[in-house]
Amino acid sequence: MTSSVVTSGLTKRFGQRLAVNAVDIDLPAGVVSGFVGPNGAGKTTTIQLLLGLCRPTAGSAEVLGRPISDPASYLGRVGALIEAPSFYPTLSGRRNLEVLTRLGRIDSGRVSEVLAMVELSDRGGDLVRAYSLGMKQRLGVAAALLPDPELCILDEPTNGLDPAGIREMRSVIRGLADRGISVFVSSHLLAEIEAICDHLVMIDNGRIVFQGGVDKLIDAQQSDIVATPEHPADLQALAELCVAAGKPARVEQGEVHVQAAEDWAPELNRAAMAAGITLRGLTVRRASLEEAFFAITEAERDGTEQDA
């Protein structure tokens, strides 16, 4: 599979602060890649480096096969929404896009096309200062789509959106991927990324802590088996039964949470029945992306502390 973005030791320092620390990223082309990490982790700085908006302190990167030292050679094929959508408030949405089409020598007919894609055709003539935040975000995505990009970089596209707006944005992003556009979307909302991404890059304190398929990450995490006895009086006995079988277990809110692989669930069911405990419920709870993220970052920090 070809790569849309490849970085090698990409580093950006602002004074004493290391915002991006020797980052190596390899994003497959034609898929939605998520870029997750807490606020201040280095996501926006990395994106700015990829867009030629700031210069790296060290390292190198290629976007669509071209070096970031020559942004003019690839930005014509890249669409971008950077942080909060910024527009001229006293120009209409359509005029704002016209500023960009003229600047980038893009066919002016694209303005109507992209406004239709983000369902802003009927409001394109309104001044941007009258737009809601959700409409501004959609206009930002429209601006990113103007050059009919091969790669679309969206920095926190769902910031400030209500649940309906977030759902719409997900649908827009999936639509881009369906059209074969590589999408690199950053967010600090992990559940949102989990819902739309095929590939994932995790960053924390300027360092990449994971990259790969979303399934690969979640599969790598320990799942929980959650068992609910018919009688609450059996909770403790059920937990002790698991511990005796070598599986750590804890009682939590009327349930027994067992740290074990999914295929141990039938074994647990048999063991409970043999002990005279009837189960009302037996489910496997897979780790969420959020739990996976915290597990990885905590492991990283423990490792760093041990190294120190």
């Binding site: 942004p71 930005l75 890249v78 971008a80 910024s86 527009f87 006293t90 500023v99 893009i106 601006a143």
Partner: protein, 263 residues
Amino acid sequence: MLGAYSSEWVKLRRRAMLLWGLGGGLFFAVLATVFTVERAVRTAPLFPLRRGRVTFAELELPTGLVHGVVDVSTLIGIVSLCLFAGAFATEYSQGTMRNLLVREPRRAQLLTGKFLALATFIGVAVVLEIVVSCAVALLLAPGRGITTSAWTSSTGINDLLQATLHVFLASVGYGLVGAAAGVLFRSPGVAIGASVAYVIPVEAIIVGAIWSNGDRWLPGQLLSALAHGGSGDSSYHHSLITLAVYMVLIAAATLAVFKRRDA
């Protein structure tokens, strides 16, 4: 560069830009012309308080037609400075500079195209201000008994064209100072405040209290002299050449900052 030039015109056609960019200079030009013609006196005043008034004899010279506009050329220049400083600094303060740099990553071309569009806008504004103020002067002068035949003579037309060129060049010079401040400070308020403060009171204090010969060398003083077609110790050619050196240095420094700094 053509893309940046064309793109800037979408923004320059905004109502607010037309109102303040064109209207501001036009207001000063018309006001100055009305005051100059209406307050003109037949003989040179003896009382010091009335010495600011122009005489009929001065107004009846071929240069009399644009007397009022040239008198307020510094104010027209300040409008230009504010327009340029605001146009550059606002791109940073409202976050649109990043959008522009993604679509036009060749920073020198973006800066130059934007500057040339603003300079063209100022050129249109200066021509409009002079045309309207000439019309006002030609309407008011006969009523005051001022003879206008020299204004429409070939010498008068030549002086009119020269004055237009001088005011335009000075306005673009003021604009470059504003653009440099806009790129440097990235905040419209700070950029406009700092550059206007330097060009008007700071230079006046330097010349008045520290360096009496400064009016021959300080950029703000030279821009004012250029707009007047030369004044006092600063001849037109001295002003033009010295300012050309200043402007090349300011443009080079602005471009270097714009190209090197993270957006």
